[in-house]
Every structure is written in C-alpha cells, then in structure tokens.
C-alpha cells in the first residue's frame, strides 16, 4: 500500500533502532503523547527493538480514555430519553460511566447509533425531524474541526434538532500539567502528529524551553516513530530541548489555518476534567455561548456534575508514566477488554487494551502472581 508500506520497512526500522542504541549513553524516559502511537509501538513491538536504557511512557492521548465518567453518564442519560437519538464514534460505546455503558443503554432501548463523521449525525437529524439528535463530540484537536463543522452545517441548513455533547480536550495544557507534576518522570516527548497537522507547532516552543524537554512531532508508522525517538534521544544526549518536526509530510508550522478558524468560530477554551488526571485549567473546548442551542448541556439543562474522584482504575498513574498497565491489580483479572473497569482497556488506543491485546505474556505473568 503506497504511503504506508515505505514507513513499515523492516530494514530501515532496524537501522534506526541500531543508531539509537549506538547513541544512547544514559537512561531516558520518553512519552509518546498519542494513543495511535502507543497502539503502533505495542502492535509492531517497537519498544522491544530499543536499548534497555530507554523507557517509553504511554501518554494521555486517547480521547476515549480521558473522557470523564460524568460526561459518559450524561451521554447515557440522554440516550435513554425516549425522544433522543445519541450518535457516537464506535469506541465510546464500551466505556463505562459510573454505572452502565452506552452499549447497555442501547440494550435497554436507548437509540444509540455509531457514526464515522459528525456530519453524518447532522444527516440523521434531517431525516428524523421529530427527534432530538445529539452527537457525542469527543476528542482532541484532531476531531474538533469536523465536530465544529457539524454545528456550522446544522446552523447554516436550519437543522434545529441537532446538538453536540462536548468532551473536547487539548494536548499542550496536558503536557504542561504532566511536566509540572511532582512525580514527573518524562524527559522528552513524541508530540502527536495529527494534532499538530491541525494546530501547528506554535504552542510547543515555550513548553520545550520552560521545562527543558525536547518535543518531536512524530507520525504513526514504525519508521516515523523510530525517527521521532532517534531525534528525541539525540537532543537529550546533546543536552538540547527544542521542537523538531519529524512528520513534515503532514505537519506545517502554522498547522491547518482553515481548520483552526472553524474551531475558533464554534468553540471556546475552558477548564476540563480528564479521567485519571483531574481538572486541568484551560485544557478543553466547549461550545461558544452564542451557539448555546447546539450545546446539548444547555439544551437539555444537564447538571454540571462535579468531577468525581477516580475509581479503582489507575489510568492516571499509567498516563503519567508512574506505572505500567500490568502493574494495576485489576489488569487482566477483573479488567479485560470485554468488561473494562476503566477507559484505557476499552479503546484500541488505550495503553491497557494495547498491552492486553499484544502482550498476553505480560498478562499471564501478572495474573499468575
């Protein structure tokens, strides 16, 4: 497959891994931000190619994992209302709220539909004018433009029965929060390539400088990830902390100006609770007050539920790199992909699901203990 296979070239991957090994003189801890990168690392076994001195920490960049349970409860509450159709991306359906998940809400009669694009939810709204259609707008900067477009399209086409339930989060504030934590172990970052495709690199310079951490914008294929790691280790070894773009085929410094404009027209920055990490100031997006009709929270007068302290799931410690998935007492025992106790076990991008799926050896050992 063109544009994919050349980035999965085994010889090149091993060549870069060897170069990293030759260069590494000290232990380094590097976080890949995005769940897509975590998935690729574990699926292709990339971490096994690295020298032992390098530790990879799987960051909070999985939208499913960081959506707080109170917002999932809101989605479930809406889905169970008789006149509401709740449209969602597929992998949100298995994430438990404080009680049930959306799949169970569907089994109990809730009208829950999987869509690939938020614009499809607007179409559902047009086709069902007597019903209220709510799109569960979850995600990072990557999904924000399409979610914003759904609101703009609904507004332009006079679709009055459409609204979105937002749980939008932003990467740079989370990176700052992680680096500022007293137990932080992370020394360098692989930034999420697709987030940067939209937002550009502007926000990362100050973070790299203030926290003295190199930030390498990185893609998602094996060659991309190893190239990102190579550049990150090189900077660490040389004592530099700069922003570098190792995903230039997709990312421009200024990002996608058109997409950023659409996001600004529909959303405004707000504080946001991250599942596992807690409230991070100015780390989320919500619908602008002048578009309140399209904001499901206001439209259905959903209570502004207080952030709940997290349950048994240790996703916060995993996302901060303090623990690995298999160090959780529930991992592989009470918590499995078919009955997840926390979100990182749900999404293919979640660190726990990735470990469970591809690292059954680790699972077997940790469960046997």
């Amino acid at each position: 497959m063109k544009y994919v296979d050349e980035y999965r070239d085994a010889a090149l991957v091993h060549q870069i891994a060897a170069a990293i090994a030759r260069m590494t003189t000290r232990p380094w801890t590097i976080m890949e931000i995005c769940g897509g990168q975590t998935h690729a690392i574990v699926k292709f076994g990339l971490d096994e190619l690295l020298p032992k001195k390098i530790t990879l920490v799987h960051g909070p960049g999985c939208p499913v994992c960081v959506t707080p349970s109170e917002i999932i409860d809101h989605a479930i509450e809406l889905a169970l209302r008789p006149n509401v159709v709740l449209c969602s991306f597929g992998d949100m359906l298995r994430v438990p709220g404080t009680g049930i998940d959306l799949l169970t809400a569907k089994a109990r009669g809730g009208d829950v539909r999987i869509v690939y694009s938020p614009l499809d939810a607007v179409t559902v709204a047009k086709e069902n004018p007597t019903k209220e259609i709510v799109f569960f707008a979850v995600g990072f900067e990557t999904t924000a433009p399409a979610n914003a477009m759904s609101v703009q399209r609904a507004q332009r086409e006079g679709v009055r029965n459409f609204s979105i339930l937002t749980s939008h989060v932003l990467v740079p504030p989370a990176m700052r929060a992680l680096l500022s934590a007293p137990d932080n172990l992370v020394q360098g970052f692989l930034a999420a390539g697709h987030v940067c495709t939209i937002m550009g690199l502007g926000e990362y310079g100050p973070i790299a400088k203030e926290h003295r951490a190199p930030i390498i914008v990185t893609g998602f294929e094996p060659v991309d990830i190893l190239e990102g790691l190579f550049r990150c280790v090189k900077q660490l070894e040389e004592g530099r902390a700069e922003v570098e773009n190792a995903y230039a085929r997709a990312v421009k410094f200024e990002g996608n100006i058109h997409a950023r404009k659409i996001v600004e027209q529909v959303f405004t920055i707000a504080d946001r609770n991250w599942r596992g990490l807690g409230v991070i100031p100015r780390s989320g997006l919500e619908v602008r007050p002048e578009l309140a009709n399209f904001d499901a929270r206001k439209r259905f007068r959903l209570s502004n539920a207080a952030a709940r302290p997290d349950e048994i799931c240790i996703s916060g410690e995993i996302m901060r790199g303090v623990k690995k998935p298999h160090q959780c007492p529930a991992f592989g025992r009470a918590c499995k992909p078919e009955h997840p106790l926390g979100a990182p076990m749900v999404s293919g991008e979640g660190a726990c699901a990735a470990y469970y799926r591809y690292r059954s050896r680790v699972v077997a050992e940790s469960v046997a203990v």
Partner: protein, 353 residues
C-alpha cells in the same frame, strides 16, 4: 473460571460490568462475549459429548453412517450487499460448517422469520439466491418453516438453516488431531466479507469496490479428501476473522500457533479500507475462506490443490504449530517483532481517529 469478581477483588469499584445482565450486540459477535454465553449458559444446560467437542458441527453415527449436523442463523443488515446476500450466506454458512467437519454436505433446512410488511418480491429474490447457492454447493433444501412477526418486531427477514452431511473417510478432522509442526494454510485472501458489509452500512459515508467472499468450500475440501491427504483440522473463517479462528484452535488443541504477518494474504483494497477505518484484517469476517492443518510433508500438495479448487485469491502457508505455550497464537510482525494474537472481544467498533 477462577477470575475474581470485581466486587470481591475491588470493593471500592463502582463499575460492576464484569457480568452483564442484559444481552448486548457484542454477545452475537463471535468473540469473547459469545464464547462466554456458550460456556456459561448453553454448554452446561445441553451438556453432551458432541457439543463438548466444540467443532463447527456435531459428528454423529446412526445406522452405520457417519454424519455431520450443524445449524446457523442469519441476521445480516443490509439484506443485499456487494457479492452476496442473506440467502447465499445462509446456505454457504451451513454448507461450510459441514465441510469443516470433513463431510460432504447433502441436505439443508431453511427457517424464515418474516416481519409484517416485508415485500414478497424481496423474499423471492432471497429464495432464488438460496436456490442458486444450494445448486452451486450440491445440496438440496429439503424442509423448511415460516413465521411472521408483527411490524417493528423483526428486521425484515431472518433466515436459519440447518444441514446434514455424510462423512466418507476415516480421518478425525478436529482440533484434537492438530500436531506439533503441522503447517497452517489459509485458503485465500482474508477480510473481504466484513469490509463489504461495512462499506454498505447506511450510516457510513464510505465507498469501496470490495465484494463479499461468500462461497461454498465443498470443492477444495472434497479435493483434499479425495487425494487421501492426512488433514488434521479445518476451520472456516467467519465472524472474528482469522485471528479468532486460530485462537480457538490453539486453545482447543492445547498447542501454540506461530503466524507470519507478511504471509497472510490480504488484498490492497481490504488493507486500505481497514487502515481508513482503524480495523485489523485479521479480525474482519469472511464467508468463503478456511484454514487447514496438514503435516509438513503434505503441505505443498495441499497448497497446490487448494489453489486449484478454492474460491478467492491464492492460498498461502501462513504458519506452523508449536508445542507451546499452550493456547497461544503469536504473530511475527512485518518488522520482525513477535506479538500475541487474541480473539476478538465483543464486536468490532470503529475507532475515533
């Protein structure tokens, strides 16, 4: 199962989802949830030796004849999709389960559950498709049943088929016959059926030219048997895909299976569509492919024979059986690192980004 219940293990956990109290769509997905239902509800209730063999069909003896017997229900939506339809699948699904027992399929039954208001012309289209599929597979549909449910209580049309075939050889084709160093052959390229269905689902704005691989497996299986090859086991790849079939076989044979990712045949179209939707071809459904376990010495002959007779792209040797760890399937990735393949959990859910 000795797994701790969350209430015992994690008294502070407020999320008691470990054992669901309602059926969710995942229970019909052919993955872990389905297996859970079978193990906790069906097998204990119906317990008998034929059922416990956990094969695609039951192998039975009556009046001196060795027979294979199986059943399959079909609830696919939409009813018609590129390359196939609910009728063709209903016939081939049951025919293929019989083939996997090493049987020559003979007779099928067909049960129809129709929703009030369902167009008779559409029913006729499905029935004619079943007729053609039965003819192609060399079976006769010899008995049937019809029921109608009120409007809104069904999804147009459900079809259930059952089938009987005759076993005309002395081989025991079953997971228990799999041996260390057996070669694993897949009969053609994988993932077409699942992606064809995915592309036609009404709410996905996604188009492709992928056609379902739905086809009978009678010809390749009969050819292998007629040649007198020592077939150890066969399994058709359906829901849950190649990965789930291999995990099931590794578990029921108590052996390990090692697979080379680069050897698994997948067309560019299917690979591309899977990349876009964030799915893995190894877990995507098929309706006309099977895996076959044969002794190494016979693998080349078996491969050539399957290439000549099986539907789909060229077959391939994708791996080998190893002594252990028992029940484990490992996949060597394109870059040479090994990882474990697990069965599918629930149904495939598309990813966000």
């Amino acid at each position: 199962m000795t797994a701790l219940t969350p209430s015992a293990a994690l008294s502070s956990c407020p999320m008691p989802l470990a054992h669901r109290t309602e059926i969710t769509v995942g229970h019909g997905g052919g993955g872990k949830l389905t297996q859970d239902l079978i193990d906790r509800i069906f097998r204990p209730a119906f317990a008998n030796a034929s059922l416990d063999a956990q094969h695609d069909g039951a192998v039975l003896t009556a009046g001196g004849a060795k027979l294979a017997f199986t059943t399959d229900s079909h609830v696919v939506s939409p009813l018609f999709f590129p390359g196939s339809d609910i009728g063709k699948i209903a016939v081939n699904g049951t025919v293929n389960d019989l083939c996997m027992c090493g049987a020559r399929p003979l007779w099928l039954s067909a049960g129809f559950i129709l929703e009030e208001g369902f167009p008779i012309a559409t029913l006729e289209r499905v029935v004619l498709s079943m007729r053609d599929a039965a003819k192609a597979a060399g079976v006769a549909i010899v008995t049937g049943d019809t029921k109608v449910v009120e409007r809104g209580k069904g999804d147009g049309l459900y079809v259930t088929t059952a089938g009987v075939g005759v076993i005309e050889h002395g081989l025991t084709i079953a997971p228990t016959s799999i041996r260390v160093s057996d070669v694993v052959i897949v009969s053609g390229d994988i993932g077409r059926h699942g992606m064809a269905i995915m592309a036609t689902r009404a709410n996905l704005s996604f188009e492709s030219d992928i056609e379902s691989d739905c086809a009978p497996l009678v010809a390749p299986v009969q050819a292998l048997l007629a040649a007198g090859l020592d077939i150890h086991c066969m399994r058709d790849l359906t829901r849950g895909g190649l990965a789930t079939a291999l995990v099931e076989l590794a578990e029921s044979s108590n052996l390990s299976i090692g697979i080379e990712e680069t050897a698994v045949p997948v067309t560019e179209l299917v690979r591309g569509a899977c990349e876009i939707l964030g799915l893995e071809p190894m877990y995507v459904a098929n309706e006309g492919r099977f895996v076959c376990f044969v002794p190494e010495a016979q693998s080349r002959r078996a491969l050539a024979m399957i290439a000549e007779t099986a539907p789909g792209g060229p077959p391939a040797i994708i791996g080998r059986v190893r002594p252990g760890p028992a029940g484990q399937v490992t996949l060597r990735s394109v870059i040479g690192a090994e990882r474990i393949l697990d069965r599918m959990s629930g149904e495939q859910l598309p990813r966000i980004c």
